[in-house]
Symmetry: C2
Subunit: 412 residues, 2 copies
C-alpha cells in the first residue's frame, strides 16, 4: 500500500512531463488510469526503441498505471472518458494532462460533470504555442553557458531537465489542489507552462539578479562548479573525475587528502586572496587547478578512491551510461529502489521504483507499464459502471479495445 | 491566500534543492520558517553575489519565507528549534531538511516531541556520502552524451537539474506524507537521495533499457533532438535557432513552411526510408539538416518568425541570459508570474512568483527573501510561545538574533 493508496488520477498525456507525473503518482500508490488510443498515442513509438520497435521510453514513463484503450476522437468515446475522469468518490475526480482539448477535457466541460473536479494542465507557453524542452532551454539561455570555456557554440543539455522538473511540479500542483479541495469543497483548474517553469527557475537561481543588478555576463566554465571550487581532472589511468570544494569543509578535506594545504596557502599569498572564501576559490580556479592537476595525473583512481571516501571528499568519476550500469552498485538491485521487472514485449531489465522511502508505508516493487488497453474492461465496468452488454457493444463498434487474449495472459 | 494557506513547514537547509522546496511551498501560501545561524549558514554568500557580497542565489531561493536566527549549535537553541518544528496544530509538524543531524533533527528525536511529526530529508547518496549535482551527474552518465558530435570530452550541464528535480520531489513527498497523516493519524520519516533521483530517472527515460536490452551505446548528438528530428541552424543574421519535428504534425508544418515537402520526399526515396516515422527522421537527421541548412542560411530570423508562429512550427531562438531578459516578454512583468520586487540589501529586480495559476486561489505577488532573523521575535513569541522575559534573555545570551532596528524597518 503506497502512501497515496486510495487516490485515483486520470491522465491524458504524451512525452515526458505529464507521463512522469502520472508514473510518480502511481509509484506512490495512486490508481493512475491513462487514456490510450487503440493504436497508441503520439509517443507510443518514441525512442529509444527495441529492435522490434517497442518503446523503452514509453515503458519507462508509464510504469504502474492502468490503460484503457478508447477512441476519444469519437463522441461516445469522449462521453465515456468524461465519465471516467469525473467518476465519484472523494479521492477521485483528479485529472492531469498536456493534451487538453477545448470542449471535451477542458476544466469547464469536466466541471459540468463533476463540480469539484481538479485538473492540472501543462502547456508549452502562456500564449498557447507549443514548446518542448529542446526549444525552451535555448530560449532562456542555459546552452549559452554550457560547454568548454574556449567554445562559442551553445550546448543543449541531454537530460530533458525542464520536462523532469515540470512533471514533478504537476505532482505537487495536483496534491496541493486536492488538499485544498478537501478543506474547501471546491475543485479548480491548475495551469502550468514548460516555458514558465524555466523562466521562474532563472530567477530562483539568482541569474536574473546577475543580469539586472550586477550587469555581468555569465561565461562558459567547462565542467567547473560555478561560484566556488569544483573541477574535473584526468587521472593516470585515463579516467576523468570530478572533485568539489564548495563548502569550507569540502575544500579543507580536498587539500588535506592531496597534501596541498601548504601549496594552496602559498598560492593564496601569491595571489593576495583568502581561499577560505568560496568566491575567491572561483576567481582563482585556474591557478588551483594547475596546482592539483599533476597530483591527479600521477595517480590512478584506484590509488585514491578509498582514501577520498574515508576523508569525506565530495567527488565522483565520470561514466558513460554503460559504465554506470556495469560498475555502480547504486544502479543495480543492490539499491532497494531497483528491481528486475519483466516488461511484456521487451524483456527483463533493471527498473526503478520510487526513490523515496517512507517509514510507515513499505516500499513497493516497481510494476511494468500496461499493455495498451490492458484494463479497458475493468475500467469500463468498475469505474464507468457500464453494463456488460454495453461494454460488448463498445468493443464491437471499435470505440474501445483491448489486447489479444494471449497478450493479456502474458501480461498478467 | 495561496493554495496551501494554513500549512506551516519548518526548514533547515542549504544550497539548491531543499531551499527550492521550501520556497515553492511558501509561494503556494504555506508559512515556511527557516532556521538561520545568526551569521548565516553554508550558502549565505553563495554566488552569484552582488558587488557588496549579497547573495543573489540565497535571495532567489528563500523568497517568501520567515527567518529565525538561532544558534542551533547551543543546547538551548536546539531545544527551542525542536519546539518550533514540533509546535502543535493539525497543519504544522512538517519539517524538511538536507542538514539532518542525529540527536537533534532526526525523525526519532523529533517524534519524541510530537508523535505525528512528518520529516522529509534529502541526502547525497544512500551510503550517507555527500553528493552534489556536480558529482551525481557525471556518475550517472549524462555528460558523456552531452556536447558536439565530434567531441570526446564529457560536458556537464550548467543548470543544476538534479537539485531542481529533487527539490520539487521534496515538495510532493511532503504533501503526500501530510495527506497520509490526515487520514491515518501517523507521521513518518521520508528519505530521498540526490543520487537515487538521478539513478531512477535513467530508468524512467528508457536509458537503462537501451543499455541492457538493446546493448547499444548512446552517442553525443550535439543540439539535435534525440530520437526524432530537431536541430539548430545558423540564420543569415548570425542568429541560431532550434526547430523541432518531433510529432508528425510538427514535421509536416516544418516542411510546409520551408517549402521542403517535395525535397524531403525525394530524400526519403533516395534513402529508402519513410520520414513520417520519427525514428527514420532521427537516423536520417544529417541528410535532413543538409537539406534545410541553406534555407535558414539565406534568411534572417525576422524573415520567418511570424510565418513559423502562424504555421504552428515548434521552434525558438538561442539566447544568452542577457538577451532572454532583454528580448523575451515571457521574462518580464508582461508575464503575470513575474513582478518587480525590492530585495533589501540588493535592490529592485524582476522576480518570479509561482509558475502555477490556480482558478480558485488568486495569484500572489512574489515576496522578497527575509533578512536573517527578521522574524525571530514573532516566531519565539507566537510559535515557541516563550514569554517576553525569556525572549529578552535569549537575545542577551546571543542564542537568538535579529537584524538592527534600521534594517528591520527597511525590510518591512
Amino acid at each position: 500500500m503506497g502512501i497515496l493508496a486510495g487516490m485515483r488520477v486520470v491522465e491524458s498525456s504524451a512525452f515526458v512531463a505529464v507521463p512522469l507525473a502520472g508514473m510518480t503518482l502511481a509509484q506512490m500508490g495512486a490508481d493512475v488510469i491513462r487514456f490510450d488510443l487503440p493504436q497508441g498515442g503520439l509517443d507510443y513509438t518514441r525512442w529509444p526503441v527495441t529492435r522490434t520497435g517497442q518503446s523503452l521510453f514509453w515503458a519507462g514513463l508509464n510504469k504502474g498505471k492502468r490503460s484503457i484503450a478508447i477512441d476519444v476522437k469519437s463522441p461516445r468515446g469522449r462521453e465515456i472518458a468524461q465519465q471516467i475522469i469525473c467518476a465519484d468518490g472523494p479521492d477521485a475526480g483528479l485529472f492531469i494532462t498536456n493534451l487538453a482539448v477545448a470542449g471535451w477535457t477542458d476544466h469547464a466541460t469536466l466541471a459540468a460533470h463533476r463540480a469539484d473536479i481538479c485538473t492540472v494542465t501543462l502547456r508549452g507557453d502562456r500564449h498557447g504555442r507549443p514548446a518542448v524542452d529542446y526549444t525552451v532551454n535555448p530560449a532562456v539561455g542555459f546552452p549559452s553557458v554550457t560547454g568548454p570555456e574556449d567554445s562559442r557554440d551553445p550546448v543543449a543539455h541531454a537530460l530533458p531537465a525542464w520536462d523532469c522538473i515540470a512533471g514533478n511540479m504537476v505532482v505537487s500542483g495536483l496534491l496541493a489542489t486536492e488538499r485544498h479541495r478537501l478543506r474547501s469543497g471546491t475543485g479548480q483548474a491548475v495551469d502550468l507552462t514548460l516555458k514558465d517553469v524555466a523562466a521562474a527557475m532563472l530567477g530562483h537561481l539568482g541569474i536574473i539578479g546577475e543580469v539586472q543588478i550586477n550587469k555581468t555576463r555569465r561565461e562558459k566554465a567547462g565542467n567547473a562548479l560555478y561560484g566556488a571550487y569544483g573541477q574535473d581532472f584526468i587521472c593516470a589511468d585515463g579516467r576523468r573525475i570530478m572533485v568539489v570544494g564548495l563548502t569550507k569543509r569540502q575544500w579543507k578535506n580536498l587539500l588535506a587528502v592531496t597534501g596541498m594545504a601548504e601549496a594552496a596557502g602559498a598560492l593564496a599569498q601569491a595571489l593576495g586572496v583568502d581561499l577560505a572564501d568560496e568566491g575567491a576559490r572561483w576567481t582563482a580556479r585556474h591557478a588551483i587547478t594547475a596546482l592539483l592537476a599533476p597530483w591527479f595525473a600521477a595517480r590512478r583512481v584506484a590509488d585514491f578512491a578509498d582514501m577520498f571516501d574515508r576523508a569525506g571528499v565530495t567527488w565522483s568519476v565520470f561514466r558513460t551510461f554503460e559504465d554506470a550500469l556495469a560498475d555502480d552498485p547504486d544502479l543495480s538491485t543492490d539499491n532497494p529502489i531497483f528491481d528486475t521487472v519483466t516488461q511484456p514485449g521487451i524483456g527483463s531489465y533493471l527498473t526503478p521504483g520510487l526513490p523515496f522511502s517512507f517509514t510507515r508505508t513499505p516500499r513497493e516493487a516497481p510494476a511494468p507499464a500496461p499493455l495498451i488497453g490492458q484494463h479497458t474492461e475493468a475500467i469500463l465496468s468498475d469505474i464507468a459502471r457500464l453494463p456488460d452488454t454495453e461494454i460488448a457493444a463498445l468493443f464491437d463498434a471499435g470505440i474501445v479495445a483491448q489486447p489479444s487474449k494471449s497478450d493479456l495472459k502474458l501480461a498478467s
